[in-house]
């Protein structure tokens, strides 16, 4: 796979984002079920934190496959635009989320100057993604009104979810692609 923004790579990055979006969409029943279960005990936002990993997987995954600057953020935004036109419930705000989440993964690779795309960069990406998305929810979803205990709980849950889908899972997928000779 050549490392440039060729037509083929652009299509593939967009397709990878869509694949992740489709799989996420297939899990949306989990999100809804979780929300329903957690609503009576007032913990519905935790559904968001638990499932966030599945949301953000495209960025780290595409970044680790292509190893080029900009891929993580492009994949998230392209995926968000496609989902927006498919009539996803969050519509336009999806694009904002895509930018924010893509930025997290992108920063993880940027920290080491886009020289490496390994566990450390993915871990950093997970940390950035958790911090940025949590800040966004601080305003958007009213996290600012929660007590410290609940906030810490949500933060930890979110980090674990984001990390699993930022590091071990993309790395495992990447390894399978390499072993199958699909990518070099």
């Amino acid at each position: 796979m050549s490392k440039r923004w060729s037509l083929r790579n652009i299509i593939l990055i967009a397709l990878i984002a869509i694949v992740c979006g489709v799989i996420f969409w297939l899990t949306s029943f989990i999100y809804n079920a979780l929300t329903l279960i957690l609503t009576p005990i007032g913990l519905a936002p935790a559904a968001n934190d638990i499932s966030l990993g599945l949301w953000i997987v495209a960025g780290p995954l595409a970044g680790a496959i292509f190893k080029m600057p900009g891929v993580a953020i492009f994949s998230e935004v392209a995926g968000a635009v496609v989902e927006m036109f498919l009539g996803d419930q969050w519509g336009v705000m999806n694009v904002v989320s895509g930018l924010i989440q893509g930025a997290g993964a992108e920063l993880g690779f940027a920290v080491t100057g886009y020289k490496k795309y390994g566990h450390f960069q993915l871990l950093m990406g997970a940390i950035f993604t958790t911090l940025i998305t949590f800040t966004w929810d601080w305003f958007k979803n009213g996290y600012s009104s929660y007590g410290a205990g609940l906030l810490i709980f949500l933060f930890i849950v979110r980090f674990i979810s984001v990390w699993i889908f930022s590091d071990p899972i993309p790395m495992a997928i990447n390894k399978l692609l390499k072993r199958s000779r699909a990518i070099a």
């Binding site: 037509l7 652009i10 299509i11 799989i23 329903l36 559904a47 496609v82 904002v96 009104s145």
Partner: protein, 215 residues
């Protein structure tokens, strides 16, 4: 209105209401969006969907604030109405504009290289096939006695393998239809940006500020 400017406007308003805790503001946006969609003759079915869909997550946010919010129930109602405002505001864009309009204007007016505009467009058209593919992969693996969970790396792996083949097929087809990366193209449907686009943009943006000061 120019699709990209419209999208930008909707995003700006969406981001702004994320930072302002005001139920009247959310309700105003909801009302204006609703009127706009009615004028644009969006189907009743779609409107019903817009009412039903946000109920579960919005209620979740509300109840959570009632239980754990340290600033009282009002924040709960802000979040509840905000979520509806997001969805209805977003619909003013998605239900009246299509991806082609957006791609065309980004290519012609915002200097987005055509390979990005058409690359994403062609990928978009493959969405139904990707849904079928993911389901088929899971079925096929069951026939080998393997259950692929939705978070299984193997599921992503198989779907990406298919995506690699498709990206190759699609780009070959585009090249065969005369597409050349970074080469100039002509345009039958010319998209434009008019002064009126900016005027509408400014008008709505200012109007959004009104409820903030009134209430």
């Amino acid at each position: 209105m120019n699709a990209a400017i419209k999208l930008f406007m909707v995003i700006v308003i969406g981001v702004e209401i994320s930072f302002i805790q005001s139920v009247p503001l959310n309700l105003c946006i909801l009302a204006v969006s609703c009127c706009y969609l009615l004028i644009k003759r969006v189907s009743i079915k779609s409107l019903l969907y817009l009412i039903i869909y946000p109920i579960i997550p919005a209620t979740g946010l509300l109840v959570s604030q009632l239980f754990y919010g340290i600033q009282g129930p009002i924040i709960g109602w802000v979040l509840f109405t905000r979520l509806f405002a997001y969805v209805w505001l977003g619909a003013t864009f998605t239900m009246t504009t299509n991806i082609k309009d957006l791609a065309f204007t980004l290519e012609q007016n915002f200097r987005l290289p055509s390979k990005f505009a058409y690359g994403v467009l062609t990928a978009f058209n493959l969405v139904p096939r990707i849904i079928t593919e993911v389901q088929t992969i899971r079925h096929a693996s069951l026939m080998r006695g393997v259950t692929m969970q939705l978070w299984s790396p193997k599921l992503y792996f198989k779907a990406i393998l298919a995506a690699i083949n498709w990206s190759s097929d699609l780009s070959q087809a585009m090249i065969s239809h005369g597409f050349v990366e970074d080469a100039p193209r002509t345009h039958v449907e010319k998209t434009t940006i008019r002064w009126s686009d900016f005027a509408i943009f400014a008008f709505w943006l200012i109007l959004v500020q009104v409820p903030i000061f009134v209430f």
